[in-house]
């Protein structure tokens, strides 16, 4: 279901992901008076990444609220607001700042629908700027998706393109279930041909997309690692490898269909993400692919992930983050494992 909302066709201007996210909230707030944006610094300042820029001015402090600095309180009060029929969109300023709110997330947000037998849904969105690559100091670069993925009742989505940032956030706000919306902060300023002035599509949650077709192997990735994988796929052509790239977009629910169709075509797969490898998202993905596509596989499903270390200081992060070379090395190992 891809709906297209017609917007006035003025001169198209390229926009950043941050602008697309801001536009998504603005459109949702304009259409639905129950949508409320809240968090630390989201009002007057417009968020430390300016993602909520202008919302307080346009909709007032009651609709875009600067809260006290307390993540459990922010999410906990948002739960109460959702209980009363509002649709809170909560901003957690940075990935590692969201941990104090984890109890609210796990004990209440994720299971309120379930514990009340469907009587009390939790239509709220928790926006979490996540991941590294921006030179942030300690506690500003975590990839915390595995924690959320392991919590039943949550949807976990992460856009990798500017258009998806708009489309997925609109879908997340419209969802009657809680959505953890992971924003790859190093892509906040990435530009594209998406324009806030052009017609904008709302993307359904739960569908992966093939970003690049190929025959040699499938790179399965999401969020901040998508541009890296696209670059690796281009570089692989020199080696004679034709790589397919799948952008998951939604980690929960997981799109087995798109992923497995791709792996069955190519027979080889590498999962790429910044998050740590041990018990990380790639472990789940590799297991699912192996269970479903074993007889189509020419090699084991490999993972290119962050090392199993606390996120490193900024001057060392380039050694930790999966880069093009590490991806190509993994692809080479796929060829070797297959005996070719």
């Amino acid at each position: 279901m891809t709906t297209v909302a017609a917007k006035p066709a003025t001169a198209a201007k390229p926009a950043t992901m941050a602008q697309a996210l801001q536009r998504a909230m603005r459109d949702a707030m304009a259409e639905d008076p129950t949508v409320h944006v809240m968090g630390e610094d989201v009002g007057t300042l417009g968020g430390v990444f300016r993602v909520t820029d202008g919302l307080a001015k346009e909709f007032g402090d009651d609709r875009c609220t600067d809260t006290p600095l307390a993540e459990a309180g922010i999410l906990g009060t948002a739960v109460g607001m959702a209980m009363y029929g509002l649709r809170p969109v909560v901003e957690m300023q940075f990935d590692a700042f969201a941990y104090p709110a984890f109890e609210q997330m796990v004990s209440h947000v994720s299971r309120m629908r379930n514990r009340t037998r469907g009587a009390m849904p939790m239509p709220l969105v928790v926006r979490v700027p996540y991941g590294g690559g921006i030179g942030g100091v300690e506690h500003h670069s975590d990839s915390s998706e595995a924690y959320y993925m392991a919590t039943p009742g949550l949807h976990v989505v992460t856009p990798a393109t500017v258009a998806d940032a708009y489309g997925l956030l609109r879908a997340a706000i419209a969802s009657d279930d809680p959505v953890v919306f992971l924003e790859p902060k190093r892509l906040y300023w990435s530009k594209s041909d998406w324009s806030p002035d052009a017609p904008t599509a709302v993307e359904p949650i739960g569908r992966a997309v093939v970003r690049r077709t190929g025959r040699s192997a499938t790179l399965i990735t999401y969020g901040p690692s998508l541009p890296v994988c696209m670059e690796a796929a281009e570089a692989a052509r020199a080696e004679g490898w034709d790589l397919e790239v799948v952008d998951l977009r939604s980690l929960v629910p997981f799109d087995d269909e798109t992923v497995c169709a791709s792996v069955r075509r190519t027979g080889r797969a590498v999962v790429v993400h910044e998050s740590t490898g041990f018990a990380g998202p790639g472990a789940e993905i590799a297991a699912r692919v192996t269970e479903r596509c074993f007889h189509h596989l020419e090699a084991p499903v490999l993972r290119v992930a962050g090392f199993d270390i606390p996120y490193p200081p900024p001057m060392l992060e380039r050694h930790h983050l999966p880069g093009v070379d590490r991806i190509l090395d993994a692809v080479a190992r796929l060829q070797w494992e297959a005996g070719s």
Binding site: P68, G76, V79, G80, P253
Partner: protein
């Protein structure tokens, strides 16, 4: 090393810049030095007889409910029951001071408050029986699910009250928490949000002396839990939690204040958990019989019964009538709880998401097949 011992400390004075000023005069925020009481004082004479009679009937019913639920635990009909025996005055008053449109946010020990608010006694016990987590529609009764993690329901109460006020609705939220819960971070964050937003919320702390086995002295160094209010900029009230009239009056005032836009109040009711924490607890390991006995003498039902009798508001017939009504309630509860719960295992997958994911559809099909195989096996 204290501040006084620091070199130069005597000359140190914090001089705030000109823009700084305290938000409020803290004096009116401080609680009374002694818990507020009505019963046995001159104030009792002016208390509405109808309210006292209503409180009495509910206290007697509540005491019987606690006893019956505890008995059901011993019979294996309930997985667990955290009894509020001795604390009934708080439970009942919390329910009775709310209007129909108001919301109650109970903790796991507050089943009685939910029942006193009008919830079906069996629906209120669903969590503790173990057939589902919440047995009622919270929106229908305006009672949030009984909350097991400590103090996490308090920010919900603040958010709901805030949302209601934004919508222009006349709604007050009353949130209940124990003495142990006041040490949790969510307690602090909820009070702070409530005060900053001036949300129409009343926080009722039932200080029953122990967090499972840990006494209040090891829980806090504050002069009273009501004192915690002052730092947030809200009034703190200290009340005798076994004096049903006093709890009713203090909570009524706090609710009325919230309703007219006066913001939140923190009420500490000093009471005592006469029974153990739950049936899994051995209270003799951490407190003596003498202490329990002293509190039994200060029993909420005895206190109120004495007042009603002395003022001629109840006679022996009235006492017997209340006891008989409570007994009838217990009999009905026993009868209904002795029927096995009807469970549908497929419910496991029904309410995880609004729309089942492909993963859950697969797992539901697996369970369906297992159930069918079981049924077939039974037939053979």
């Amino acid at each position: 090393m204290t501040v006084q011992e620091l070199p130069g400390a005597a000359s140190y004075r914090f001089t705030p810049p000109p823009a700084w000023k305290p938000r409020t005069d803290p004096a009116p925020l401080l609680p009374d030095p002694e818990p507020f009481r009505v019963l046995g004082t001159d104030a009792a004479a002016g208390f509405a007889p109808a309210v006292l009679r209503r409180l009495y009937a509910e206290l007697v019913r509540g005491r019987r409910y606690n006893a019956q639920a505890t008995a059901l635990t011993k019979q294996g009909r309930l997985a667990v029951y955290p009894s509020s025996t001795g604390q009934e005055a708080c439970e009942v008053a919390a329910a009775l001071v709310l209007e129909e449109q108001d919301w109650l946010f109970p903790s796991y020990r507050d089943t009685l408050a939910a029942v006193a608010r009008g919830l079906d006694p069996v629906e209120a016990l669903t969590l503790l029986r173990g057939d589902w987590h919440t047995g009622y529609d919270p929106r229908e009764h305006r009672i949030a699910p009984l909350c097991t993690p400590l103090a996490t329901q308090l920010p919900h109460a603040v958010g709901l009250a805030h949302a209601a006020r934004l919508k222009g609705d006349d709604v007050v939220a009353l949130a209940m928490v124990g003495d142990g819960g006041t040490s949790e971070g969510d307690f602090h964050e909820a009070l702070n949000f409530a005060a900053v937003w001036q949300a129409p919320v009343v926080f009722l702390v039932q200080n029953n002396g122990f967090a499972i086995s840990v006494p209040l002295a090891k829980q806090t160094a504050a002069p009273s839990l009501a004192h915690k209010a002052v730092g947030y900029g809200m009034p703190g009230r200290l009340v005798d939690g076994n004096d049903a009239a006093a709890v009713h009056q203090v909570l009524s005032e706090a609710v009325a204040r919230a309703r007219r836009g006066g913001g939140p109040t923190l009420v500490e009711a000093v009471t005592y958990r006469v029974e153990a924490h739950t049936n899994a607890d051995d209270a003799t390991r951490y407190r003596g019989d003498g202490e329990v006995e002293a509190w039994r003498q200060h029993d909420p039902i005895k206190l109120l019964e004495r007042e009603l009798t002395e003022r001629g508001l109840i006679d022996e017939d009235g006492v017997r009538e209340a006891a008989e009504r409570a007994e009838a309630m217990a009999a009905r509860l026993r009868e209904r709880m002795n029927a096995d719960a009807v469970l549908d295992p497929m419910d496991l997958f029904t309410h995880v998401y609004a729309e089942q994911t492909a993963q859950l559809r697969e797992q539901a099909a697996q369970l369906r097949a297992e159930l069918d195989a079981e049924a077939e096996g039974d037939e053979r």
